[in-house]
């Protein structure tokens, strides 16, 4: 059941998207996020959706995995959409009850927010993390933030913490599953009873999980000390990040597309919020 969470996992491959320099991917993801919240009409969102689909196709991620990745946030999307419907009260009033008012603009805003979250997950959580190994991703983060080191920003340490955190997600998931099974074998019941009873049923899982997580952290720290691990000063890398032609092509395409989408904001279109 826990293994069903695919969000944030890496799926190895050799597609052009996999081969992009992770720094470039990070930068493009950032541009994508900004543009996603700047554009304001349905036509631009539809175009963006088509382009996202094309990128997913190029990256060779199976469609099933994309849908599986979206499943856990489904509830969040629905709630956000509903809240946003009541947020904008301008435009034609369709329904009114006390202080609640549903208007055409409100509905558009709700739809837009839902689209934005779904695109955000597809673009960043799925395309970026499914195609980039966590190690490359943290290398990229360190690289991008390293200019700020001279102002005392601990770029290497943050990247190292990210690496360790990401590295241990699958381990902890596996551990949790093992503990759940072990307690189930002793007749633990997580599925029935009142909310309070179910919350109490979590104790036999959480206590061993915390104990082992702290123990692991301690052991890891000792193992790193034993190998004389010392921050980021003067460390060289086994894999030096390099940009190539494919990266420039990706940058140019993304920038052009984004510019076109943003410029649609200034044109006369219907269906905007």
């Amino acid at each position: 059941m826990l293994k069903d969470i695919t969000l944030g996992q890496f799926f190895p491959g050799t597609s052009p998207i996999h081969r992009l320099d992770p720094r470039v991917k990070l930068l493009l993801a950032l541009i994508f996020i900004v543009v996603l919240f700047v554009i304001n009409n349905l036509v631009a969102y539809i175009i963006m959706g088509v382009l996202l689909a094309v990128v997913v196709k190029i990256s060779q991620i199976p469609l099933g995995l994309v849908l599986k990745g979206l499943k856990p946030i489904f509830v969040v999307v629905i709630i956000t959409a509903i809240l946003n419907i009541f947020y904008n009260t301008t435009g034609e009033v369709l329904w009114e009850w006390g202080f609640l008012r549903v208007t055409t603009n409100g509905i558009m805003l709700g739809i837009f927010m839902a689209i934005r979250i779904v695109y955000l997950i597809i673009g960043v959580a799925i395309i970026l993390t499914y195609t980039t190994s966590p190690i490359l991703l943290t290398d990229a983060v360190e690289n991008v933030f390293s200019p700020f080191k001279r102002f005392g920003f601990p770029a290497h340490e943050i990247a190292m913490m990210m690496t360790i955190a990401i590295r241990f997600i699958p381990t902890l998931v596996e551990e949790t599953e093992k503990i759940i099974n072990a307690q189930k074998a002793r007749g633990a019941d997580f599925e029935t009873g009142s909310i309070l009873k179910r919350a109490k049923a979590l104790v036999p899982i959480l206590v061993p999980l915390f104990v082992s997580a702290f123990k692991r952290a301690d052991e890891l720290a000792i193992a790193m000390e034993c190998r004389c691990y010392q921050g980021g000063e003067n460390r060289t890398r086994m894999r030096v990040l390099q940009t190539s032609r494919i990266d420039y092509v990706a940058i140019v395409i993304t920038v052009l597309v984004c510019a076109a989408l943003v410029s649609m904001n200034f044109m006369e279109f219907g269906w905007r919020a």
Partner: protein, 288 residues
């Protein structure tokens, strides 16, 4: 309690790029009061197989019958099955969570809905069974040594008095003394309760001196299901499955190869000692 496994297949990660067939069309019948060792290489499917026995894992296809009843039939209460078939996981000490040893061992019996006195009686007898001193009752399980923690965890399953006791590598990581003690206690449980016991292990030595029958698993399939003697008699095919025979058996096979007239069905040091002793005494008597 008779357990019949019919055409059991289990697939991990169906629908992802990491699909793996952990068990492939396994059929086997475990009779009442069997004492079985389950042996196989890392990743052979041993743990997956035992986790099907008490319904922790659900078969991808195939059936498991307990005394003729399908475990996953909708009329079967899977929790009841788990009380009857107790499974001790690998490194079971990682599942301890309570504030005192007593309460941790009582977790299973409490889930069974037993009365306070019944629970107390079971906890105390389970502790005695695994060789834990009574003065540990009110200690935190986290303050105990590794070997003691393991005993507490095993006692937690034994306190449920399962008719079938399954242990997944119970001796992993224990020192030689602790592991001998544990195996003896398991053997005692088998004899005194007329229950079925299944032990998963890597160690041929441990298996040779403990169990009656051995199941060899390889690549998600059952390769052998034979009494101990017949398993080790066929050393060549065992080594082709990258499994080993007990060292003492190797010694006797080597002796035979060198022309010593001696039997080779020797699987425990104890039996080897008796054999040699009677032989030597016999020879002395002949000389006299």
């Amino acid at each position: 309690m008779k357990i019949e496994i019919q055409n059991l297949t289990h697939t991990y990660g169906a629908g992802t790029p990491f699909v793996k067939n952990a068990l492939d069309d396994v059929s086997i019948t475990i009779e009442d009061h069997d004492f079985i060792g389950l042996i196989g290489h890392t990743g052979s499917g041993k743990s997956t197989l035992v986790q099907h026995l008490n319904g922790i894992l659900k078969p991808t296809s195939g059936r498991i019958l307990i005394d003729g009843r399908d475990m996953w039939d909708k009329n079967t209460n899977i929790r009841e099955v788990r009380f009857k078939i107790g499974l001790v996981f690998q490194y079971p000490e990682h599942q301890l969570f309570e504030e005192t040893v007593y309460r941790d061992i009582a977790f299973g019996p409490t889930n069974m809905g037993l009365s306070e006195e019944e629970i107390r009686e079971r906890v105390l007898s389970a502790m005695e069974f695994v060789g834990l001193e009574q003065d540990l009752l009110d200690k935190s399980p986290f303050d105990l040594s590794g070997g003691q923690k393991r005993r507490v965890a095993i006692a937690g399953v034994i306190a449920m008095r399962p008719e079938v006791l399954v242990l997944d590598e119970p001796t992993a990581g224990l020192d030689p003394k602790a592991r001998d003690d544990l195996l003896k206690q398991i053997k005692k449980y088998y004899k005194e309760n007329r229950s079925t016991v299944i032990i998963v292990s890597h160690s041929m030595e441990d298996m040779a001196k403990t169990v009656d029958k051995i199941i060899v698993v390889k690549g998600g399939k059952i390769e052998r299901f034979l009494p101990v003697g017949e398993i080790f008699a066929d050393a060549e095919s065992l080594s082709s499955m990258s499994l080993d025979i007990p060292t003492i058996t190797k010694v006797f096979k080597k002796l035979k190869d060198r022309g010593v007239d001696i039997e080779t069905n020797v699987y425990t040091v104890k039996y080897a000692y008796e054999l040699m002793r009677s032989r030597l005494l016999g020879e002395v008597r002949q000389d006299a």
